[in-house]
Symmetry: C3
Subunit: 359 residues, 3 copies
């Protein structure tokens, strides 16, 4: 193995001068106990082991042992764990949330650098003054880019793309004409928003492409992972609601409408014209058929298949589990005989009834 894990702090942007425990407590509304407010904090770390001058977090009693042994400088804990830490504590009812916010203070963030000289920005594009545009990025006519948004190197925005404030477009992303995004949208590297939807009509000899005249609309705080694709609609827009989070390698077909706060894990394939409700949780590798309607508050386990509507909230599944291959093959043979098995059962049922009658 080449190299080994480094502490998060090692490649974090070090705010100068270093943050102190007291400042972090105050700024994030946490109660500090058992530690000096002027303790310098240089990063965050995992609870197990822990790292000096770094902050970890613990959620519940399952982590008690790790908490008691941690070498972290401080641990964010709920009230009931506060007494068990061998170090300073930052007390809150939501330790993971506080941890995420504090970790963001140490996140790597290259400086805003304006528009790189090699970027090709159409004169009719409107960029807010503090937009960052990376080397070789291409921004089409009529684009409107909001304040603080960062466009990665080699990203390509077609004509008339609208991106709200505080957006992040990764490197090598392709965003097609007329796509519209809300505030604080994050598109990871190499994703494609607004490519042609997959619409075909047969002319008796060949397939012809049905033009895709709609676009894609992403709400506020939408996140799209790396190498994911969201197709533009045929006659209306593909619409991704506010606060929807989509992982890597996800495919979303044309005309889909996805409700707010829904989370879609990696490698999912969502066919065209689906409607997915709000606050859904779609596991990794799930497939959803075209024109499927899913109500709000549905969770689907990883790798499940959804060829039909889901009309009730709750947890849904069609996930199998690996078995030793010999065992699996035997089950598969039995599965293939299920029709015969049922017939045989019916026969013995009849015989049994006959015997019953004879009794």
């Amino acid at each position: 193995m080449h190299g080994q894990g480094v502490s998060a702090a090692a490649h974090s942007a070090q705010p100068e001068p270093p943050l102190t425990l007291g400042a972090l407590a105050e700024q994030h509304g946490l109660r500090l106990a058992g530690g000096a407010p002027d303790l310098p904090i240089r990063g965050v770390c995992a609870l197990a082991d822990g790292t000096a001058e770094c902050i970890a977090y613990a959620m519940g009693s399952a982590q008690l042992q790790a908490l008691e042994k941690t070498a972290a400088a401080a641990v964010i804990v709920p009230e009931e764990l506060a007494a068990h830490a061998p170090c300073a504590v930052l007390v809150t009812a939501q330790p993971k949330l506080a941890f995420a916010r504090i970790a963001a203070r140490f996140e790597y963030r290259p400086q805003a650098q304006g528009v790189h000289a090699s970027a090709v920005v159409h004169p009719q594009a409107q960029l807010a003054p503090d937009v960052t545009v990376g080397p070789h990025a291409v921004i089409g006519a009529g684009c409107v880019i909001g304040a603080g948004t960062r466009i990665g190197a080699n990203a390509v925005l077609g004509d008339c793309v609208t991106i709200g404030a505080d957006g992040y477009i990764g490197s090598n992303v392709s965003i097609h004409h007329y796509v519209r995004m809300g505030m604080a949208v994050r598109i990871e590297a190499n994703s494609v928003i607004g490519a042609r939807g997959f619409g075909l009509v047969h002319n008796g000899r060949d397939w012809e492409q049905i033009p895709q005249l709609g676009s894609v609309v992403l709400g506020d705080r939408v996140e799209v992972g790396a190498a994911s694709t969201i197709d533009r609609g045929t006659l209306s827009d593909t619409v991704i609601g506010d606060d929807v989070h989509i992982d890597n390698q996800v495919q979303i077909g044309h005309n889909c409408i996805i409700g707010a706060h829904t989370v879609i894990a990696g490698s999912c394939g969502i066919a065209g014209s689906c409607t997915i409700g709000a606050n859904c949780m779609i596991g990794g590798g799930v497939g959803i058929g075209d024109h499927v309607h899913i109500v709000d508050h549905v969770s689907i386990t990883a790798a499940s298949q959804v060829p039909r509507d889901i009309t009730e909230p709750g947890l849904w599944s069609s996930t199998f589990r690996v078995l030793p291959a010999r065992q699996w093959r035997r089950l598969l043979v039995r599965f293939g005989r299920l029709n015969r098995l049922e017939q045989r059962l019916r026969r013995v049922e009849k015989a049994s009834t006959k015997h019953d009658k004879q009794d």
Copy 2:
């Protein structure tokens, strides 16, 4: 939600002067009835609701109600629906096809702009005079690009790539050396054609890569969706037949041969050395094992798995369906007991036979 659906017409390239209903009827061979030929048409729209000055289409009696209420300026219909429209009709036996062709008249299409100054085109590449090459595109030595072909921004063509006339290569696409494409091929953004096939040989200690010396050949009118990958062959070429349409996020392994007119939906994974016949329909998320042979006219339902040859045309499936997770778990337990279930059945069958004999 940020923004909302816009009518397709809103971001269409408006031909100047506007097209008229009569001109469209004449140019597309449709019979116009119940409307003024000089009616201006500014776009296409969905039948439900409909949009003024736009054309919709209806296929059959299931759409009768929507047809009777549409606000579209005209509707493309088959003969039997003509009397039911509240507006002008364009009559044809193939309304969807006519609609697709008319919609194409309103499709967004940036003007051809020649070779962008920032593109890096090798002096030994041959580009037809009206080829468009986007900003920062890279075209290698020995490439030959046909008339009217558009190469997107930041696309990369290796050496000796051949692309026929009227092609479209999306932004951030990678096409490797010696790939050859026919006429009117369309490759959506961020796809990769001709990367190294996944061939390995073990040397007793490590894996070594088997060089992939073949290439990829795409026939005429092939379509490849966004973020799809087609690997180059090992000793011969990976071959995609004429009029094959491939959706987003599809992986096609080295040495595959796919017959003409076959359609492959999103997120499919096709392993190496497969032969897929002509006129097949492969649903989304289907997996096909290596060296599998599939005959012509096979359709496969979404998410099915094909580890072995398919020797008969028709519809094939291995798709499960989600159920409420509790119900699914119970079935899964029973599934795992299928061997025992069959044994138990055999026992009662024997007992039943014994009773029968006793009778």
Copy 3:
């Protein structure tokens, strides 16, 4: 179909003067028999048919017929096949391995050309003297690139990326800040290494992103296919061991640790925080759930699902197989009735026991 297969030799870099059979035998440690050492060799070919002036290989008696008819100039064979070739033979115990190494002699390899003028290389990046950087590639501050490494056109390396010697980074690849790679790593086109891991925490109203402060570490000789994605870790690094080979369209979540020599076929989705052992073989389209631990020497058949740990080496499976759709639907109905089926069986078992007692 447009175009047709060409012999591999046709687009190979022809070493000048041509290699001879004798030189190849000597350089690769093979015993030459039945052929003139000065026979010129211009490429490699398949055994079936075979091509003049090219070398093929044969592994075992199953290929005897093809061997006896081949038109290849020479065939690499194991000792027991040597007498059956109609041409020269190169004898070795590992014909496929020798073939792969000889094929590499004829592989297309563009000349090293230094750093292209259009590339944007940060002045604080350190490139070994013979590094190749393609047009429009972007290399961030603090990057260290080893000798002989080739960076493809439009590839983007964030700040402080480390790449060992003899690496290959394909076109349009995105490698994020602080990613570290060993020697001879190969990343195919449009892959993304080190994007943000998919970590979220709910604040009671919206999802917030958990910063991903770790990085990705790739060992020596790691191969990543086209359009694959490997996310950076949350607090520690995502780690891919030496000699791991990953195919196209594979997603590897944050914090995963994958052991040396493991091979992962295309379209797999591996969720976050998995540990996969060394020398595993993961078939195409396999899904692995988050926090799953898999021991060394596990093989998993294509499209299998792994929601739980695998604690024993060997072959594991949950792969179904397509059937004619009518037949499949009948099985699916029976599958859905498995609970009832078992109940019915229990009833006849009881009845049968009763009859037994009555006997």
